[in-house]
């Protein structure tokens, strides 16, 4: 930032001068972007290549940890043969249904509890207690309630998503500056108008942060629950192929889950950006 040149006195001269970023702004920016992009590609690539090398050199047991090339070709074969899609589709359906229900319920309750202190007083301790219960522990309850089939899986995703969206909505509504609310009140806005013009847009940016975290966690939960109580889906595929000692299929399933999770939370992020054009853009990745 600064350079110190010796002066005639004990004092020295501190010079603020242009750095590389100022002298060559375009070139510096281009280099910076290229570096970021190549790091984003190179780090996973190096890890995968390392893994491949380890499998080829028999540092690791290829039957337990199949080489990336095996996983890729196996996944490709299964996808081409159509064996993979039923499981992907089953998982996707459960995640989307559960996510929709959980988001809608969480948003509605968060809005109510954020704007009406009495409802907040009545429900907050109860929901706080439920929040800390691991949702997977509720799976047996949902199995009893809905029987086998899609019901318990969807309910589990919905219950998980609900809490993330509920908490972020409620805190967002509580945090709305009173000036925003007062301006609406003075004009005589009805509750619906208040919601439409103030509460909804003011809370949306932080609700979407909660929704994005929930998107990742939804995939996480569905895979776990499919391992326990489902006859199809990616979670079932992963667990079942391990039992049959088809470790390559297991890894195909794991890769599918990762891809599904990334696509889903990116989708929520892009949707959020379209819904809140006024909010500052975050170029970073989601926390999920």
């Amino acid at each position: 930032m600064t350079t110190i040149a010796p002066g005639r006195q004990p004092e020295s001269v501190l010079v603020r001068r242009p750095g590389p970023e100022e002298l060559h702004p375009v070139r510096t920016h281009r280099r910076r972007r290229a570096l970021e992009l190549s790091l984003a590609v190179a780090v996973p690539l190096v890890l995968v290549l390392w893994w491949q090398l380890a499998a080829d050199q028999r540092w690791i047991d290829a039957r337990v940890y199949p080489a990336p090339s095996t996983i890729l070709s196996d996944g490709w074969d299964r996808a081409a043969a159509g064996d993979l899609w039923p499981d992907v589709w089953a998982t996707l359906k459960r995640v989307l249904a559960g996510y929709a229900i959980g988001t809608a319920a969480g948003y509605a309750l968060g809005l109510l509890m954020g704007s009406l202190p009495l409802i907040r007083a009545a429900l907050e301790p109860l929901l706080d207690a439920l929040y800390v219960v691991p949702k997977l522990a509720l799976l047996p309850v949902f199995l009893n309630m809905f029987g086998l089939g899609e019901g318990p899986q969807v309910a589990l995703v919905a219950a998980t998503v609900f809490f993330f969206v509920w908490i972020s909505t409620m805190s967002a509504v509580i945090a709305i500056p009173s000036g925003h609310l007062d301006a609406g009140r003075v004009f005589g806005a009805s509750p619906w108008q208040m919601f439409r013009h103030v509460l909804l847009p003011a809370s949306l940016p932080s609700v979407l942060v909660g929704a994005r975290i929930a998107a990742g966690v939804a995939v996480l939960v569905i895979v776990a629950s499919e391992q326990i109580a489902a006859s199809n889906g990616l979670g079932h595929l992963i667990f079942d192929s391990r039992a049959l000692f088809q470790n390559d299929v297991m890894f195909v399933g794991i890769v599918c889950v990762a891809v599904l999770g990334v696509l889903f939370s990116e989708l929520v992020r892009i949707l959020g950006r379209l819904l809140t054009p006024w909010a500052p853009r975050d170029r970073g990745r989601g926390q999920s």
């Binding site: 930032m1 004990p10 020295s12 001269v13 501190l14 603020r16 001068r17 242009p18």
Partner: protein
């Protein structure tokens, strides 16, 4: 200035923001010389690059072209006072004032003594253990001033420090600052929107043009030091103020 050893010397200083084709020329080219112990006020319309100049002097930002040289005996000679106080809500008043000293690793005992001394000078002694959130705006800005001066900076940079205060409080703090800086003779670069403030405080008042900011006029308020806030009612004061306003109005109105 005929001084062969100016405290601060900027030559051909410019700053551009953004990348082609979306660039904004924020500042300059600007040449500026500040003598040791001089109090220089910079006034100019909004967005004219006043703050950019200050941030370059503080080392927070680099110039796009040109250089700014500071003659100093330490590596970090500057202290800065911000418009929005910049004091930390999670530190007590005493800890806030001590912050600069803590960062410079001044021993705790000495740092506490110097902080206490500055709190007393700023009339904050009773609030040493309070948190800033409990203080009024004027008090908070006094904390910011105490924090900056506690490190005994060679160069004091002030970025519209009183802009958020009400008119009466602003005058009171101007008078307090006048008294302190006349005693300390710290070289100061003071940025403000208020012509009155600039004339009361400054040895020199520089008027900047609209963006990209250049210096279009320079005035020396004809009031010998030590001066007090009473000069506000002098006829020369009013005359200089309207003279400066004539200049500034042309710049403040978008062409």
């Amino acid at each position: 200035m005929g001084d062969p050893h100016p405290k601060l010397h900027a030559s051909d200083l410019t700053r551009v923001f953004g990348r082609t084709p979306h660039t904004v020329d924020a500042l300059g080219p600007l040449d500026l010389t500040v003598a040791p112990g001089e109090f220089v006020c910079v006034v100019g319309p909004s967005g004219c690059g006043k703050s950019t100049l200050l941030r370059i002097a503080a080392g927070l930002l680099r110039p796009s072209t040109g250089t700014l040289a500071i003659r100093a005996s330490t590596a970090r000679p500057a202290a800065m006072i911000f418009q929005d106080y910049g004091i930390y809500d999670w530190k007590t008043v005493q800890a806030n004032v001590r912050f600069g000293l803590d960062v410079q690793r001044v021993p705790r005992r000495e740092a506490n003594a110097r902080a206490a001394d500055w709190l007393a000078r700023m009339g904050l002694a009773d609030f040493a253990d309070a948190y800033p959130a409990t203080l009024s705006g004027g008090m908070r800005q006094r904390v910011a001033i105490a924090r900056a001066l506690a490190v005994e900076p060679e160069l004091l940079l002030m970025d519209e420090p009183f802009a958020a205060l009400d008119a009466q409080l602003r005058m009171i703090l101007q008078d307090e600052l006048l008294e302190i800086t006349q005693a300390l003779r710290t070289t100061t670069l003071f940025i403000t929107h208020s012509l009155e403030e600039a004339i009361v405080l400054g040895d020199r008042v520089l008027v900047m043009s609209a963006r990209p900011g250049r210096i279009i006029a320079e005035h020396r308020p004809p009031f010998p030091r030590p001066r007090t806030g009473d000069i506000r009612s002098a006829p020369e004061f009013t005359a200089l103020k309207s003279q400066l306003w004539e200049l500034l109005r042309k710049e403040a109105v978008p062409a």
